[in-house]
Structure formats: C-alpha cells, structure tokens
Subunit: 195 residues, 2 copies
DNA sequence: CGAAATAGGTAGGTCAGTCTACCTAGTCCT
DNA sequence: AGGACTAGGTAGACTGACCTACCTATTTCG
C-alpha cells in the first residue's frame, strides 16, 4: 500500500509543486485555484487548509523558487574554491535551474515574471528584489577574492555580470530556450580572463 | 465650440493611450475593459468599434511602445554619425523612454512585462522578440562600423551589450527607477573605450 | 478519537463582450 | 437650401463564464 493519500504535509507539497509549475508556465493571474488543485490531485479545501489565500501560495512559490536556485548554486559552488569558478557557478546555477523547467519550455526568471504581475506595493516584489540582491552580492564576494585590493572594481564588475546574467535570462525566456545563458556564460568567462 | 467629441479616430487615440498607461503600470490581466474606457473618458462600445477585442488592444499597445522607443532612438542617433555615439544612443533611448513613464514609476521594459503575461503561442510574444532582435541588430550595425574587419567580434560585443542593457532595464523595473540604466550606460562606455 | 483529507456546492464578485437606444455632426442628393 | 442618410459617438443594462473563498458533509487513517 505505497500510496498514502492523507499524510500530513503531503497535500501541501503537492499543491506547492503544482502551483509552481503552473505559475511559471502560464503566469499567476492566468492560473486559477481549481486548476491548481486538480493538477495536484487534491481537494480544494486542502488548499485553504494549508495556505490562507492564493496570495500566500504565490508568496510560497517565490520563496521556493529562490531556495531551489540557491541549492543549485551551492552544489556548483562547493566543487571548488577558485573564485573565478565561483562566479561561473552563479551562471551554471541558472542554467541548471532552466533545465528543470524544460518540460514545458524555458520562460526566463520565474521571479521576475512574477514581479511583473504583482502590484507596486506587493511584498512579493520585495522578495524578488532580495533574491536579485543576493545573487549580485554572491558575485561581488567572489570578485572581491579575485581583486582583493580593488573593492570598487569588484563591485563594478559584479554589477556588470549581474546585468549580463539578468539580460540573458530574460532574452532566453523570450526565445524559449537557454542558449542565451550559455552565450552569457562564455562572455563572462572571457571578461574574467582578459582582465 | 473647440471640443469636437465625435471626430473619427479621436476615441481610438484616447483608448490606446489610456490602455498603454494602465497596461504598463498595472499589468495586462489586472487591467479591465471598464477601467480603460473610464480613464479614456470614452464609452465601452467605442472600444469595440475601434478594436475587435482586448487582445487586439494589447497587440496595438506592444506595437505602439516599440514605435515610441524607435522614435526616441532616432532622435538620439541622428545627432551624430560616430558609431560609438550610436551605441550609446541605444542606451539613451531607453533612458528617455523610462523618463516618460516616471509619472507612475519605472516598471522596466513594458514589452518584456507583457510577454511574461502572454501564453506561449501568442503573436504578441513574437512582436516582442522582433523588437529585441531589432535593438540587438542596431547595436551590431554600429559595432560593425567600429570593428569593420572583425564581424564576429562585433556580433559578440553586440550580444554582450544587448544582455547588459536588458538586464539593467529589468533590474531597474524592480527598483522602480532608472539608476541601473545609467550604471549600464557607464559600463558600456568603459567597455567600448578599453577595447 | 481526532486530525486531515475528500467531493462538491455556494456566495459574491469581476470580466469580456454584446445589445439596445439615443445623440450629434458632417455629407450627399434633390 | 434643406431633408435624409451615415459614421462614430454616449450611456448603461445584460449575459455567460470564471474566480476566490467559504461551507457542509463524509471518509480515511494513525
């Protein structure tokens, strides 16, 4: 009897996974409660037992997506303590994350797409901003190791690489594939080598 | 009697302008027909006399936003025939475009935000992709003038600058201001000078 | 038992799009 | 010149679909 249907927390996981897939693929506003519960194979009330509202589910989606990326980054990063490799690990983490979404096609950064749908004051937007700030600060930390005597240069290149990466993700999302991400990784590699 | 209320095309212009403001500030799905007609000061039926559907209005919004950008670029570009200035004109056009939206706060690239809300097969997404391709090809054209003997180098730097610009716009939209755009312009200027 | 799940329905609201009925300013035709 | 016609506008009701959120009643399982 491997299928337990009513283990506690199981419905929550299924809901969050289904919602993540649908929010990413179709957008937040275009995804209704019934679609989520149906895909999760869960009763509608189970959603409201585990999340106070759809907005809370959206918020959990944003946090989960950030955590996913961070886990992928740490796997990539811990393989080496070369700071150049650390910078590249940031790019690889996004490439890895993109490939997990390949089933329904790459749509760019789920967090950025979510932010585009949220109103100006929504706390979700702040969470997305926090994610982007953390990525940039990871880049800067590695660059400070590469240029230990030039903190402002490190900060400048950190911003440069953050914009490069962000743009590649956005463009890749338009195209529906991760080619741009690989191109950006190559550009970043060159940039670090030549300087 | 200076106010003609029923001049042909007048309602269409007012609708497109109102819809553009609202789509950009609040998103497409979050903006209803009634909100648009109310802001335009126009009857609902006038919308359906001028546009077959909301989707057509969205499509017109995307085209209009691209045309706006192109007009701003041409003003910036025609001031000089220095190819480096031509590259910078692309950045300046986005800075100019951002300042037109300052009334309600900068929200990044309206076309990219729209694409995030459109489903995979929507023709609007193709229009956005066309806009991005045109921007990159303008960059590459200037770079081909800068490096006339190195077309592949020009193409590579063109992609680099396109990603840089795209990322800066996206990040600026999260922050709600155009600071990132100015930073990216400075980075691009450096990049062209040092090489 | 009791916590957590299930199926399914309901309330209240919003949205896109249609419809009716009326108004106004030009244009055409005799 | 003047009446009829037309194009494009206004106001507002209305339909059918869908959405979030809540509710009821029942069942599963540790």
């Amino acid at each position: 009897m491997p299928e337990r249907q009513s283990a506690p927390g199981r419905a929550r996981d299924r809901l969050l996974r289904a919602a993540s897939d649908l929010f990413y693929a179709d957008g937040i506003a275009a995804t209704g409660i019934d679609t989520i519960t149906e895909r999760a194979g869960v009763a509608k009330q189970s959603l409201y037992n585990n999340f106070p509202s759809k907005a809370a589910l959206v918020s959990a989606y944003i946090d989960a997506r950030h955590d996913e990326w961070l886990a992928l980054y740490e796997v990539r990063q811990q393989a080496s303590d070369d700071p150049v490799a650390g910078v590249i690990a940031v790019f690889d983490a996004y490439i890895d994350h993109a490939s997990t979404a390949y089933e329904y096609g790459f749509r760019g950064c789920g967090l950025l797409n979510a932010a585009a749908e949220l109103s100006a004051g929504d706390p979700g937007r702040a969470a997305v901003r926090r994610h982007k700030a953390q990525v940039e600060s990871l880049l800067c930390a590695h660059l400070n190791d590469i240029y230990p005597e030039q903190p402002e240069r490190a900060a400048r290149i950190g911003k440069h690489l953050a914009f490069l990466l962000e743009g590649a993700i956005a463009r890749g999302g338009l195209d529906g594939n991760a080619n741009c991400l690989h191109a950006a990784k190559a550009i970043a590699t060159d940039l670090l080598e030549q300087s």
